[in-house]
Symmetry: C2
């Protein structure tokens, strides 16, 4: 057995090169390449002290002298090491001859995760010793010189994706967490996707990227806006929740087409998977109607969609809020799977069950059901009980379940009240098959829909946790939901309902819709009010807001405001869904915890009364507040 062969054997035994690591890595590399292939090739080694990145080396580089910079992923007894950079891993062969004893010592002594620069020659790995799971697995680099650029202390966790870390630890050492392939991939994909969006908007469709202020005035109903004290006593800026007013003012200013990757702020206290600052793709156009904005957003997403996630087809399906509620029990339906809500009121009209009849007699009274496929096989009794308990506790709604037995009969508490014809009608209406479970609820339309919509998602999650795949994890279902009756301060009424606004505002259909992806709201758009009188009426009479806070916008609308509309996409959520991350914190470089803290730097932090003096504020400590209240 040659020395080299022995080295290979050692190498194969390393736990480091587990399947997890190489799998993650290959996934990352292929997706990264797929994205880049559409744009001009990037030069990743311009301006710096390397000739190549570690991860880009291939057989074509054999014979080349290279200079590489990277982190020591692993080092084995001064024989070889694996060097890592953002593009991948490369195996480095350490020379064993006396002439290179200094090189050997330098690399032998350097702790894992130290930063080194090496020069050497790219060589082929001996035949049969290639690693097909590694993109650089056909080659290795024989080192000539080596220099430790910075040494690394013992780390709180290893930089390997398959080593599970608590999220708190990841956040505290975010700069280490960012070295993971997953975070590198997420942030790079985000950057590339946003760049494609910019190309689409700016280069292809003449949009102007305009930066709008984040130190602004409180907006009506802006209770969730952070305040920023100014140096003038009692006067505050606010951090706006969106550039809404500015984008409308830009249209009035004749900018015609505006977009911005806009930082927005919302102080919602502690909320899971929300961030006090977030980013939206903010778009506004003049002379556009609802269809125009929908075509724009479809084109934008199609153009910027990463190759690695397949292609998306347009136009996106569209649904009214009424349909979404009736079929999915929510304004953001997850249309990747069926299990739609079915109205079985007609079946139950002739069934003598007191509580059902009571429900049907009431206004908007209905009986509705969903069918859980294979529920009897995949769900246990306690699962069904927990679903029903969830309906009870969250909605105060009774839900009954029925199971279709292989013999064709429905097993249920209701069985004795249901004649065979009723049972058959239910089975037919819901297309129930053997071992399916039907969840049934009677009551007011909207409530029953909401309950069953919730149970639809909960039971789908349960089924999937038991191994039944309902939702294709590679599928992306976009959906436009028309929210005809959403009251919004700036949304224009449907053209044919304009006069209704003054007589019966509750009946006015508005021109607002949400963009939904896989059951998540990722955007909202609308045609805005461009008539000053109408805007004033909506603020004062309909929404009971003080129009004084918006006097500048009202005056602007009198000065030749073009008809306009727009949309805002929640970028963090969108990228999160595209990369399949469990949380938006995985697509943000330095996110806050759900309490709004930065765990790395201990933010927010105390500051001295002297530092507050220029802003003419002082802290009202709760104890002092309590005391003051007592007096």
């Amino acid at each position: 057995m040659s020395f080299r062969h022995g080295l290979r054997l050692l190498y194969c035994q390393l736990p480091l090169f587990s399947r997890e690591l190489t799998r993650t890595w290959c996934r990352y590399v292929s997706s990264s390449l797929a994205l880049r292939s559409e744009t001009r090739a990037s030069d990743f080694s311009s301006f710096v002290a390397r000739t190549n990145t570690c991860g880009e080396l291939r057989s074509a580089h054999v014979g080349q002298e290279v200079a590489l910079c990277g982190w020591i992923q692993y080092q084995r007894q001064g024989l070889f090491l694996v060097l890592r950079d953002f593009q991948g891993l490369i195996q480095i062969i350490i020379p064993q001859d006396e002439a290179h004893s200094h090189v050997k010592k330098v690399l032998y002594d350097a702790p894992v995760e130290s930063v080194v620069r090496v020069t050497g020659t790219v060589i082929s790995r001996p035949s049969g010793q290639e690693n097909p799971r590694m993109p650089t697995g056909d080659i290795e680099v024989k080192v000539k010189t080596a220099e430790v650029l910075n040494s690394c202390k013992k780390l709180p966790f290893e930089i390997k994706d398959f080593i599970k870390k608590s999220e708190a630890l990841r956040m505290q050492y975010r700069y280490l967490d960012l070295r993971s392939f997953q975070m590198q991939h997420n942030l790079r994909l985000r950057s590339q996707m946003v760049m494609r969006m910019r190309e689409y908007l700016c280069n292809l469709h003449g949009f102007v990227d305009v930066e709008t202020p984040t130190l602004f005035k409180r907006t009506p109903g802006g209770a969730k806006e952070f305040v920023v004290p100014s140096r003038e006593p009692g006067r505050f800026y606010c951090l706006p929740q969106s550039p809404q007013q500015f984008k409308q003012l830009l249209m009035i200013g004749g900018l015609d087409r505006y977009f911005q990757v806009a930082r927005c702020y919302r102080d919602e206290g502690s909320k899971p998977d929300r961030q006090p600052e977030f980013t939206q793709i903010d778009i506004e156009m003049s002379f556009v109607d609802q269809a125009g904005i929908q075509r724009l957003i479809e084109g934008l997403l199609q153009y910027s969609w990463p190759n690695e996630r397949g292609t998306i087809t347009t136009p996106f399906p569209s649904m009214s809020y009424a349909e979404a509620l009736a079929e999915y029990g929510t304004d953001k339906p997850d249309t990747r799977f069926d299990m739609k809500i079915t109205d079985v009121s007609d079946v139950f009209r002739s069934v003598e069950i007191r509580f059902v009849q009571n429900a049907l007699l009431k206004s908007q009274g209905t009986v509705k059901a969903i069918c859980i496929p294979q529920g009897a096989r995949y769900l246990q009794n306690k699962d069904l009980e927990s679903l029903k308990e969830s309906a009870k506790s969250q909605f105060n709604q009774e839900v009954l379940h029925l199971i279709l037995k292989p013999d064709g009969t429905l097993k249920s508490l209701l069985s004795k009240f249901l004649r065979e014809e009723h049972q058959l009608e239910i089975i037919r209406a819901l297309k129930v098959q053997a071992d399916d479970v039907v969840l049934l609820a009677a009551g007011e339309h909207k409530k029953v829909c909401s309950v069953l919509g919730k149970l639809r998602l909960e039971s789908a999650n349960l089924l999937e946790s038991r191994g039944l795949v309902l939702r294709d994890p590679t599928a992306f279902h976009f959906l436009q939901v028309e929210l005809e009756s959403a009251p919004h301060p700036f949304t224009a009424p449907h053209p044919s309902d304009t006069s209704l606004l003054y007589s019966d505002p509750g009946k006015v259909r508005s021109q607002h819709y949400d963009l939904v992806l896989n059951g998540n709201e990722i955007g909202g758009g609308s045609i805005r009010i461009h008539n000053a009188e109408q805007q004033r009426f909506v603020l004062e009479a309909v929404l009971k807001e003080d129009p004084e806070l918006l006097s500048h916008l009202l005056e602007a609308l009198e000065c030749g405001a073009p008809p306009h509309g727009g949309i805002a996409l929640g970028l963090d959520r969108l990228i999160c869904l595209v990369v399949g991350a469990p949380s938006i914190r995985d697509v943000i470089a330095f996110p806050k915890s759900f309490k709004g803290h930065d765990l790395m730097s201990n933010t927010p932090d105390y500051i001295t009364p002297e530092e507050l003096e220029p802003y003419h504020i002082q802290v009202a400590w709760p104890a002092a507040e309590a005391k003051a209240n007592k007096n």
Copy 2:
């Protein structure tokens, strides 16, 4: 005389089509086209209710049916009107026949600046009646239908560039000011130039666009950071002055190349031409040295430079701080004109003037001068007195002036002390010509340089205000100034001075330089400290800052931090210089006044004590403060 011909005559008499307007407009259109020619052609009429923009129509469109949307710039007795959009002006011929009486009435009744949509046919103007100063001057549109989309009230000022408005009025009605060709041009050029920067960084050189938080922790010495109260009593976020820490942490996280068009905040109170929020092109790279960053920034500016402003050549000239001070008396020399500071100490060593000898005897004592070309012809006595008074009041420095008379003698208070040989030496050293004025100062090197540097600029401004062109307004002079001795918390010492850091930190040359354009600092870059121990020493021992505030960064530097460096470009200032605007407020859509106010919306504004309650702060009114101090 035909009706059409009469209409032409009317048209020619209109004050509206003054040379000012068409000049402005032509400049705008040509520059806008120049920029766009480099990218794929934009479709400005996708998704909306028009076929074309007003400004894009040319002879090639003759015969086409078009739908246009725009603002009424001018309307004349129901005969024709001029419609404006962001791309330009188009003449609309209103049909006079009975069948179109409705169209005529609609357009006749609509006030100026109302928004209309018209459809019609593009026709050639009759031969000889073209307007060559108007890009659409060969054609006009014969209207078939017209619709007023929104009427306009009487405006506080007309939308014509040549009508001068006070800045306060422009700011109060910013949405009207934005309709000016100049503001449209500035914002569009800004958008396009930033887009080109993104292409260079992201597509060509593999940079990752990463968004970093703006709700962060106070940084050491961060007295100018706005504070943002959180919902936890006494705890505050701060709005950072730059993403400095984050970009370093991203390098430690292995991102390799980062950039961001970053919103930054600095609370400097009232300062002219500063904004409380501003934007910088923020760049950081791993494994780079100073030369690498300089090449990057040169490439970036060259690539993104707008065609309409010519081309820029690289590499940019470079100068040490010492040279800049000695020759230009400032760290940001305007190298577009000469008038360099010249040391004439040697001449004066043998001149018996008490105050000069006293100055020369002191440490760093010098006699220096600048030569104002044609000063005696262009400047009056009171100008020279005011220059000297400025030196006196700002620097407490006496300055003398000498005038070279056509007869070859120097006229000056010093004349009687200056022998002919001295006079000749001065004339030779400063290349003085007849009617030039020499300003002379004696004292400590740095002070004298600073005074003369200031006077150099002031006298250049005076000369130019009198009609002598010193600085080519189309010239762009970039300059890299190496600030070897700037103390900065994160800047690495020059490699050969590392050991000096611990023994004699004052002598350490640092790796920091500024980028200067036409005498304005537009950026600053440096190689950062990547060694934790060195960073701690600089913070604690050199800068006397509490390292605790930066403990996360110090710990990160111990975890395998790569060598790294970067640069930040002040985007507002850069664009301001590129478009030649008098103030950065002209390249920002919604700027604040020098007091930090938004005059349109009355920001910052008072908010109620109830709105402050969730943040556990209360206003310390000055009266109450004063009272408290008394007690």
